[in-house]
Amino acid sequence: MLNIKNLHVKLEEEDKQILKGVNLSLEPGKVHAIMGPNGSGKSTLSYVLSGKGGYEVTDGTAQLEGVDILDMEAEERAAAGLFLAFQYPVEIPGVGNMTFLRTAVNAQRKLRGEEEMSAGEFLKVVRAKAKDLKIDAEMLKRPVNVGFSGGEKKRNEILQMAMLEPKMCILDETDSGLDVDAMKLVAQGVNALRDDKRTFLVITHYQRLLDHIKPDVVHIMANGRIIKTGGPELALEVENNGYADLLEETA
């Protein structure tokens, strides 16, 4: 699904190398988790893959289903099936959540040369999906993320994911700022989207989230590289021993 080879990335504004040769191969239908200490480059990886400005790719490639995405605009990547659930979803006053969702769904369809979703069909689909995430009609009407609690914001991210039906989902610290109940609800939403084609890359600091979203593969990232790859047991190891041992191992 997503193949990242030797990805080197620096900040555009300053001479600071963040990613120093990341290699990742994510197969269809699998859930990969990336864990790592602060400043290891996890969030940068998610931003570079989804097309945020301010970064310069100095080497390497990233391909989504065999197509290079690094030269594409953010919206083109989205239309190609990439989705990033933000660590800090942005508030957009004055734009209704529903309007925003419909704009996004139809913009992607248009970019793909597909027919737009009718208002009626859209309403039906969004209501059903919102219900599963315990998002009520009021929340759909409110401006995007304005006055939402941390949990509501993250649920709203998952609702967008459910509506946009991406092939490749990147979740950037989706567990941050969530209490246990909210985390369960979000995890349920993610698990409901799992199938044998859709791929997930779950970025997290803590093993906690991975109790609810069971990964197939766990990667440890440090200092701009993937330093270790293993099964779910690797996450438990980190939980028990911290990153220090792993960092020493590879130093």
């Binding site: 400005g53 933000f86 957009i92 004055g94 913009a107 401006p143």
Partner: protein
Amino acid sequence: MAASSQNTSSSRALRDAQLIDSSGAWAKQARTAASERAQAAGLPQRRDEYWKYTRPDAFVQADVTLQSSLRKSLEIFHQRTTVLVTFEDGKIQSSALPSAAHCTLESLASASSLDLHWARDIYGRLEAAGQTPVQRSLAAVNTAVAREGLMLNVTGAVAAPIHIHATSSGQTDAIIHNVIQVAAGAEVTLIETGQYGARTNSVLEVDVADGGRFHHIRVQDGDERHLLTHIFGKIGAEATFKSFTLTAGGQLTRNECVLQLLGDDASVSVAGACLGDGRFHHDDTVFITHDAVNCESRQVFKKVLRNGAVGVFQGKILVKAGAQKTDGYQISQSLLLDDDSQFLAKPELEIYADDVACSHGSTSGAIDAQALFYLRSRGVPEAQAVDLLTLSFVAEAIEEIDDANLAQDILDHLTETLSAR
């Protein structure tokens, strides 16, 4: 200084002898007094502090050289039932004046031919009261020479909005003077769309008696046109006055609004949203005087500017001694979509009472990069994402409109305007 008659055209003369001769008693008096006010004040000069950010030349010069036309009918409020009043080339279509329950509609021409008319207590009176501490001589000129306007007397709750729609062609120089009286406990909504002329000097005087409610929604489109509007409002106890203006076109616009809160517990709101692109200069000049206890006033202005467009805001809250428990709010913000555009703001507070809450703020900024990325990451192309963030930016001003349907119409019109450019 007094302006000589040589530098003004007949249409801009400070005194129209023929008009005064044909006026009824009350109008003769009002026009003569205004003519004297205008001559004493003189026409605005570039060096006037009050005209520091907007050159008065275009409003003062003798001839209109603009080729501007707005013939097409704007269909912004077409889904709403309104009481339609039309102006063509600066002239009210009085033969087609509609009627509606709880109000009377007349033309200025017919009202001013009478010796006695209710308008005598308002026409030129509110304008004159608004001449201090700053002289607004072009408003006095308007009072002196205007021949066209709507006189609206509201005696109860008027169900449908009164809708003025103006169309013009060629080099029309329009001087329009509308007067509205809202009786105690009465309520009306006034909608204004279209343009009176290629160059327009308009005055709207509104007297809202105790407990009355006045809502004003205005859309200023147009191409080259130059537009100078004045609102003079007198607001009684427990009364409400709300005015919202959307400006989405026109080369030069100056909207002045002068309100006097004279009764306790009243509430006023003056809001504006503008979209400026290229040759576009837009000035909001507001002066709100609190002269009663426990009144609330809000000024909310949002300007989105690009390709060298210029936005101006001069807003003042004056709280007189004794106007305790005043709650004043003033915000003026611009969204600059490029480095060529500019926003000039002069927010002012002058407070002589000691138990008041007044807040004000003014900001200028670019599109929020994080928000733009958020939208694009959801598949929304950049141009469309900028439009959405533009709508988001002006939303606070539109939210000042009480009627949700009319607010939605404004939002739809904005969305359409954005997607068309």
